[in-house]
């Protein structure tokens, strides 16, 4: 059965303190792994799609990487506006989401 597990569940960082979020998955025949950001009361906002092991993508302070079993979302020198829930999802016909990591960045 396809599974997606995100860790940690919650993360508190001081502004400028870099860290990484983990998304591990068990899916055979992965077609793509997505990262989304979600603010309270809003729908998911697209960040990245990764397709194959070894791939990396960057956007501002965020960098996503992919291996055969997991993906990392690295946040470099975060700011308070990066506070949100970060979701990963894997696609193989179904699109299955993890439970998310709630990130809080305080000044």
């Amino acid at each position: 059965e396809d599974q997606v597990t995100q860790s940690p569940e919650a993360l508190r960082l001081q502004e400028g303190e870099s860290s990484s979020l983990n998304c591990s998955y068990t899916v055979s025949g992965l077609r793509g792994l997505f990262w989304y950001r979600q603010d309270p009361g809003k729908g998911p906002e697209f960040l990245f799609t990764l397709y194959s092991a070894g791939e990396e993508k960057e956007k501002e302070r965020l960098k996503a990487t992919l291996t055969k079993k997991e993906s990392f979302l690295h946040i470099t020198a975060p700011k308070p506006e990066d506070s949100a829930t970060y979701l990963c999802a894997v696609h193989r016909n179904k699109l299955i989401f993890g439970t998310g990591t709630r990130l809080q960045v305080f000044p």
Binding site: Q6, R31, G32, F34, G43, P44, F46, T49, Y51, L87, A89, H91, N93, K94, L95, I96, F97, G98, T99, G100
Partner: protein, 116 residues
């Protein structure tokens, strides 16, 4: 180009009532999905479709039904609403051409449903 449109945005149902949540897309995407999101939780897949006339169950299908008679529309039907179905419902679409890469899954704005 409206993308993914969900209606209604808000709804209050009484226990035992039925309703249909509408999802329409104008991007000609084959893949469509329905999710529910309970407070503080992730997105749980209810049903999905890989094309017109084809639907399949997701992680939490009980109490729901879907149909996909056209590429554009993917309505979600709630029969005999229960308080446990109080949630925010999201519809999403995805284009997987078979060759080449998927870009992203596009989401509707969500429907906030309360069952009392």
């Amino acid at each position: 180009n409206a993308g993914v449109t969900q209606t209604p945005k808000f709804r209050i149902l009484k226990i035992g009532q039925s309703m249909t949540l509408q999802c329409t897309q104008d991007m000609n995407h084959n893949y469509m999905y329905w999710y529910r999101q309970d407070p503080g939780m992730g997105l749980k897949l209810i049903y999905y479709s890989v094309g017109a006339g084809i639907t399949d169950k997701g992680e939490v299908p009980n109490g729901y039904n879907v149909s996909r008679s056209t590429t554009e529309d993917f309505p979600l039907r709630l029969e005999l609403a229960a308080p446990s179905q109080t949630s925010v419902y999201f519809c999403a679409t995805l284009d997987f051409p078979g060759t080449g890469e998927i870009t992203e899954a596009f989401f509707g704005q969500g429907t906030r449903l309360t069952v009392v």
